[in-house]
Amino acid sequence: MSGAKDRMRHKKMRNQPSNMTYSSSQEFPNGEGSGGSAGQGYSRSQHTKGPSGYGQSQQASGWVRGRQDGPVPRDEVLPKYITASMFAKARAAEVNSMLKAVSKTTGSSHVFGALPKHMRRRAMSHNTKRLPRRLRELADRMLEKSHHAGQKEKKEQSKTKSRRARRRHGNLLLEFNRRQRKNKWLETHIWHAKRFHMLKKWGYCLGERPTYKCYRASYRAMSSGCLLQDMSYYCCLELWGPEEQLMSALSRLTSKDTGPTFAAVLCVSGQREGNTLLYKADQYPHQPMGPAQFLWRPRNAESSLRQLWIWVHPTIKQELLSELQVVCQCFEAVSPPPSETPVEAGPSDQPSAPASSDLKSEPQHPGKKRKREGDGKEDKPAKKILGDGTRSPMTPVSWRSAENDIVINDLSMEIVRYRLIGPLSHAVLTETLLPATNTEIDIESTSSFWWPQHCKNKDSMSLHKQQADVFQLLKGVNSTSELPAGCVLGLTVDDPRLTLPKKRVTAALDLQAAQDVDEEQRRDLTLRGVPAPCAQTALWDQDVRDNVTNNRVLEQEMNKMKRELLVPGSRLPVFPQSRVPILLVHQAGKQQGEERRGWGSGWDLLLPKGWGMAFWVPLVYRGVRVGGLQMSLKHSQNKCLPHFPHEFPDCPAGVRFQEEQEVELLNKFKRRPPAKRTNYIKHGCLAPFRCPWQRLTEEWEKIVKQDGEEGKLQSAEMEGVISQSGEDTPPTSAFTVLRSRKVLRQLSVWSKPSSARNSRVPRGCLPTPLLNTASAMELQAQWRHCLVWVRVCVLGKGLPTLHTMLCVPTAEDLQQLRKDPRSIGPKEPRHKDHLQHLLKRRSKRRKASPQFPASEKDEGTPAAVNKDSSSSSAPKDNQDSVVTSTHPNLSTSISKGAESAVESSSATDLSDSCKEYVRGLWPEPLPSVSSHCSRVTLGWVTQGDFSLATGNGEALGFVSLTGLLHMLLSQPADQRGSVLVRNPTSLQYRYARLHVEA
């Protein structure tokens, strides 16, 4: 403020003369001025504020006067006489300064400050017409300046262009290319962005859910219609090499325990797509990476090399890539395009090849292109980015091995993958796609397109015919789930835009067609799947893919041709370049559990890049619903499959996801005012935002060990097992999720109530050992620090949400359940928020005397109050309150010593952690997570929702293996698998049944 005032004054006084005095303080070096000869012993002090406008010319002319050294020897310095010239010069200088002062206007910087008062008018600064004409020009300039001053910060270059200009095709493309530099766009991005809530995730822009209400409708589409998803963000890694070498390399990443691996017979033939779980090399069962889908190319007669596609989630792509490089010893990066990969050793004599490489390399550096355009080269129009827009052209996409013949290619964003879910998905496909027709024409003519060349080969033609027949057979299939899981069908189809219906239609089963189809063949298809050779497709060939991508008929050209049709609305002729090799991959539905088997099966449609929208719109026109990420989550939840980053807490990607989720939830929590937040301390919820899995597993191990020592239930040999296990395994190791099929199957049987077990014996299952202490101990010893992925169905009311606690019911709870199956369940006594007192006192003390340290004496009072409630007590008398803390009717004997140890350790630094204490949340050193509440916590829910399939709450979560076995052992046989669930925001426990999916 004062600065502004000063400036104002400065402005006002700049023309006023300042005092001319000899000042004692200032000292001018001799001969500094331009006057040279004249020493400037003349200095000015400015007693009035303002710069000295005083006589520059006068200084230049100089004064014949000695240099002044200081205040004391003044008498010597002062001249004894004065000359006339000096006298005259002083006068002249003064006159000059006065002249300046008089002739210049004082006052503000406005133009009209110069005006006499009687000529001033209202709003002169706004309307310059009110000024006299001689001042108008100046005032206009001032006005303009003041307008500019406001906008100086904003550099709105794009805004200067009109919307019309911005939306012009070329400019729009440039803008799109610019926006794709950071996050990759799928080919359907624009379509999605208009209809979906978009999320920037994993380096992509993905649709989360539509903006319109369609949650239930999407579920219905999945269960009785067809739901479409763009899964192109999944990354494809291609491996080339001899089969044995590939197998030996890949076997290090997988284990047979978790199910079929890369070497599964059906998969190796290329007939089926397989799913497997990848681990870091030779690390099983530790350090999992994540699930992967893989597809072998059917064996080729000419070449001994096999081709394998591994589809993984983008979060684990880099990890997998580096791991693959290690196991295959492929470190030699092959130079990126245009030389392209050595893989395409095939016929590259096509005339379009140079053009294709040009096109390929073009979209990969949008930044450069923009710059070039900015330089003025307007002749090169912007190209639409196909594939990965963020990757720099120098990034290698291919790695070769020095020792063996394996080549790794990174094909992410090279292949479009659409997923159709639902029983009608094959009907949608058969309606949308048409196997390539008129294969006989122009066999002799040479063409740059791949299909006519392909047609020359007799074998490929017969294969095409076979594939088309199989595809026709699909029409006769009633439901997609009838087909064997994972079967693959290669196909070459016409451009689906040619058969685009005029209006949106709903695909339905063609019953007429179903009857036409030969019953024998249909049965063959549903039982044996697609014959192995039919899985072959030209999509596997890089050059065919490039050819198809680059010779795509643009939408624009298509519309132009439609316009020029003689009969409007008639079907366009098939162009030679409009044949697309595709791959149809069947996706299995629900395979685990008893109810709704085969739910959520569907087809994956693999296309060469660039053709995304050409297939997307025709599919949408067949009446499918389109789902986003939310729906893929619900899909896997209903299918009882773990969804990738969410339900893999032991994978690095899962850990990262959990961290992000915690931050997000915590921020959401903190946005509320403290009084309106849920007080999780009072609810006895220790970790509402992130599940401490490691703590849980460790604590359960401790609990069981103590239990075993104290209870003296076991015989001597059991103790031997424990001691053995205690010795041979390291005490602290990272927790893992149990994924061994055999053990899971065993657990699945054990966790069922005995009556149900008799009714149904799981197919293909070995006679499992009966559940007893011995077998349980054996299992525990083998699998330490393990979590089991479980599904929980709530029996009555209740809706489990995220991070709902799964608890062990006490004996009384089970009796209550037996007496009244509809009983609502026990209630957790309200906990005391001991930190509230602490916080209040702290704030009070801070007000009174900030330097006084917190005395521990008066902490006894709040602790005495909440002694009855539970273990959350004030830190002072922690040691004795622990004894009272465990609920009296807690049947399982909790290790009190361990608990108190944990609590006392937490108590010591409780006061420190209060500094970053968020009200309603436990501060960082958590007390015992398992035995904090009246019911012992077994695990937490990671996905909980109202299940539209079963009509009540269902949740997926993890429990500690040790805890699960412990619980199952203690429960009566007919009530095995009963658990209690309690939401983080509630005190009510609900009965639920636990299923282990195997």
Partner: protein, 172 residues
């Protein structure tokens, strides 16, 4: 306009020893005037002097001083000026007297008068010059201020000058 009106007295400080003029400073003059008013008019005068009196301009080279008094009682204070016979400077007594040359209502009129007065002095000085060199010097001085006047007039017409100044101010 409603404001407190003032009178500005343009005075020349005449010292017997011209060289002592260099010692002239604002606060010394203020003190001298104050003591003179106190001796001449006592407490009452001092009280009047304390309201709105100031030294507005001092030029140690020409001995020109501008004093500001309130219009209501400037005559009383003015009457004390002739009683100043010396200025105390750093324990030294410098004999001098004040010669009031103009009384104006605004600083601006005083400045205008000062221009006229100084110029007149210069012109008057010219014929009294003894040597040719002196004459040349004085002539040059006279010319410089008259030429300047011409230039100043030009500046006033040329408004660009104004704008440029403004730019500089923004830059600071």
């Amino acid at each position: 306009m409603v404001r407190l009106k003032a009178r500005y007295l343009l005075c020349e400080v005449c010292m017997s020893e011209r060289s002592m003029l260099r010692l002239l400073e604002e606060k010394d003059i203020f003190q001298a005037v104050k003591t003179a008013v106190t001796t001449a008019h006592g407490q009452y005068g001092l009280a009047l002097f304390n309201i709105g009196s100031a030294v507005r301009y001092v030029n140690a080279y020409t001995g020109v001083v501008m004093l500001r008094f309130r219009k209501a009682h400037y005559q009383l204070l003015w009457s004390a000026l002739p009683f100043i016979t010396s200025i105390w400077k750093q324990g030294q007594r410098v004999p001098c007297f004040f010669n009031c040359i103009h009384v104006g209502g605004t600083i601006r009129t005083c400045q205008k008068f000062l221009i006229r007065y100084s110029r007149q002095q210069l012109f008057r000085m010219l014929p009294h010059c003894k040597t040719e060199a002196e004459k040349q010097q004085v002539r040059k001085a006279v010319l410089s201020c008259s030429l300047n006047q011409l230039r100043q007039d030009d500046d006033d017409d040329d408004n660009d000058d104004y704008d440029d100044d403004n730019d500089d101010d923004d830059g600071k």
